[in-house]
Point group: C2
Chain length 433, copies 2
């Protein structure tokens, strides 16, 4: 199922990582030029064929995954890490359905973003174009192989994927299906390449641009990966920092709504970046809000770490230390404190937040509008759960992550964020005076 | 006219550059939070007051400039460099008028870029917001102090300006007027700071982010600055690489239009990044186009460096070497060669171009559309001069440069490109299922 080209790359010794990555980069550049011009039908055919190949290869993929899991267990991986890496027939079907969903999305390439005429008669169009070659560096979850590969293909980019070492067999089995889809559609196999070596030097080469080939790095992983990317990247990066998300319960909040939003924002799924990590409760409404929210969280199985005011309200709470503010628990733990009104809440968020996603709960529209205007985060919500921080929930169809940087992409990164644009100027012989 | 704060910073010894820049960064961050929320009227008042201050300070600015010019002459600067650095009453009036023009532009901050509702009733708005703190590093031209400061202010950003050492007295005199404008409008003086030291270590500190304060670097300068920025920058950069701009004369070009566009694209102003550097002539139309274009260029005072075909057509041409393809002359010199049709022209541009601005001249609309679609440059033109590569000509009102990178900004960088966005989500208590 793999192309000859992929096998040729895979047979290189690990020692020659720079040459390997430069070679992959050259192939990616060539493929990018073809994929940029590929029509939507061909890209969609590749995605649907890949979905079919995935379903047909379910047994092979599960065998590869079993080897990965056995190695992870032997290596003492935690249950959470093993769960993230484990595939099942249902998960493989979900990956295949995801490819079909991306095939069904509108093609961003060639979309006219804006269009205007100049007094001299020049007609200017701003048109979406692919970025070129994207490098995606991810950990553990093998489904990212398919999601990221498909999003980059649909947006007209070539991609070099570097998956987690733990699940390299699973990723390779999934990647083979993507390559089969490309070949079925007559598109270059090198449009979606998977780094065949587990040598971590490959990550360094990608961060340096793989010989000038990579236009953008999208990291998907934990703090150590993010730190390495920040230290070493010589090409643009869609930063994906942690989500230290806050819910601020304003004095004028509806009490039932406040409780429901806090519990959902924390407990629906604790391991996602849009999960709330800190609750700020307006002192002026604390008598109505504090007790019920703490009780509901504890009842839902959440550990509450509070400041002295919170601790005084419910003896089941633990003491929060300075380190708790600004911590992304990604677990059933939440930090909670009282604040003195909207300004104090916004100051706390500015100091400890990660500019990811923050929410206010209030019936006071003026307070809500100030919060929405002044909190400098990618996503700000009024009377809604922070767990809506998700490309699918935004209607983007699929996402490759949530960007916390401010440039180019901010918030959910979907097809549109994986494109750039150019200006097409149409004239009739105009020269500049 | 300078604020106490600015004077305090200026008095620090050069040796402590890291501390100085970190201090400036802290002040910029604080100012950025205020400028981000400043209303349009206050920002416009600051710009108009600064324009008034500039006019009133014309004598002072010219005195400062005279000292800069004298030092440059003593140091053996070239005539071109001295010309770029020289101010006159007319140039100062143009700078003041430029500030007023930026005041008259629409405020990008708070503009709703798009807005949609989700099936669950959530209302999502994508709203323009400032980026934060911008670092602008420029050389020689002291007017950039005012242009860049004003564009950053209007777009709601704080800015740290680091001007060329040669014209530091001129820049300081202009900067004092900007500070006067800010103070007149009740805005923080630290919204527009000028690095007071000529120590080049300050550039390094800016490229490292000035203690985490700088969100974006905008370099305006020659190859050595661009190279340093690429090597050292640890924060996002709006790359401003050279403009190796091509004009391709397709076989089906109108001969008069072709000649007029080539001469304008090269000779209107040879020193700007949108000036054409290479002309590609379709072999199939060479008998009609080559002679007249070469003759017109030479008549206009341009040196033509050609391949053997070009040389054979006109003995006044010189021989082009491999180095001429891809050279940004910024002078009255142009490289010229024949190509075998549209595909060969696009292959030449892909190989030697800088993805800045490229034009096709043809009456064949299908060829034009392929060129506009497939040439991967920030600006692609059909039947128009490459000298239109300019924010003013695009209707952006003013520009801080032309970005040749693909992320966030591409092409002219005006107010809009100096903003980012956030998503505001308005709900009625929605939680995620």
């Amino acid at each position: 199922m793999s192309s000859t080209r992929t096998l040729a790359v895979a047979s290189k010794p690990d020692g020659d990582v720079a040459a390997l990555m430069s070679d992959m980069g050259t192939q990616a550049r060539e493929a990018a030029a073809r994929i940029a011009r590929a029509d939507s039908a061909a890209k969609n055919r590749a995605l649907r064929s890949a979905a079919g190949a995935l379903r047909a290869a379910t047994g092979t993929i599960l065998e590869a995954n079993a080897l990965d899991i056995a190695a992870m267990q032997a290596g003492g991986a935690t249950a959470a890490v093993i769960d993230r890496g484990t595939l099942s027939p249902e998960r493989i079907e979900a990956i295949a359905a995801g490819l079909e969903a991306i095939a069904a999305l509108p093609d961003p390439v060639g979309q006219v973003m804006s269009e205007w005429d100049r007094p001299n008669g020049l007609s200017i169009r701003r048109v979406r174009t692919p970025i070129g070659v994207v490098g995606v560096i991810f950990e553990s979850r093998p489904n990212v192989t398919a999601d990221a590969g498909a999003l980059c293909l649909k947006s007209g980019n070539a991609v070099i994927l570097r998956g987690g070492s733990d699940t390299h067999r699973s990723s390779a089995a999934i990647h083979a299906c993507l390559v089969a889809g490309l070949e079925e559609a007559g598109l270059p196999a090198a449009a979606i390449q998977l780094v065949p070596t587990r040598d971590r030097a490959a990550v360094g080469e990608m961060l340096k641009g793989a010989g000038g080939a990579i236009d953008l790095i999208v990291p998907r992983g934990g703090k150590s990966l993010v730190q390495r990317v920040q230290d070493e990247a010589r090409v643009p990066v869609f930063a994906h920092l942690e989500g230290v998300c806050h819910v601020f319960i304003h004095a004028a909040a509806d009490a039932d709504m406040a409780t429901a939003i806090v519990v959902n924002a924390k407990m629906r799924r604790t391991g996602i970046c849009g999960a709330a990590e800190t609750v700020l409760i307006d002192r002026a409404g604390a008598d109505r809000h504090l007790g019920p929210i703490v009780a509901a969280l504890i009842e839902a199985g959440c550990e509450v770490r509070g400041d002295p005011d919170v601790r005084a309200a419910d003896e089941r709470t633990l003491a929060a230390g300075e380190d708790d503010w600004g911590t992304e628990y990604l677990d059933a733990i939440i930090a909670m404190r009282l604040v003195d009104g909207l300004d104090d809440a916004m100051a706390h968020i500015a100091r400890y937040g990660s500019q990811h996603t923050d929410a206010i709960v209030t019936e006071d529209l003026a307070a809500a509008e100030r919060f929405l205007a002044e909190v400098d985060s990618a996503i700000v919500l009024h009377n809604a759960s922070t767990q809506f921080a998700d490309g699918g929930e935004f209607g983007f169809g699929a996402e490759i992550g949530i960007a916390t940087g401010k440039l180019h992409a901010r918030g959910p990164v979907g097809l549109e964020q994986l494109t750039t644009f150019k200006y097409q100027v149409r004239g009739r012989g105009q020269i500049r005076p």
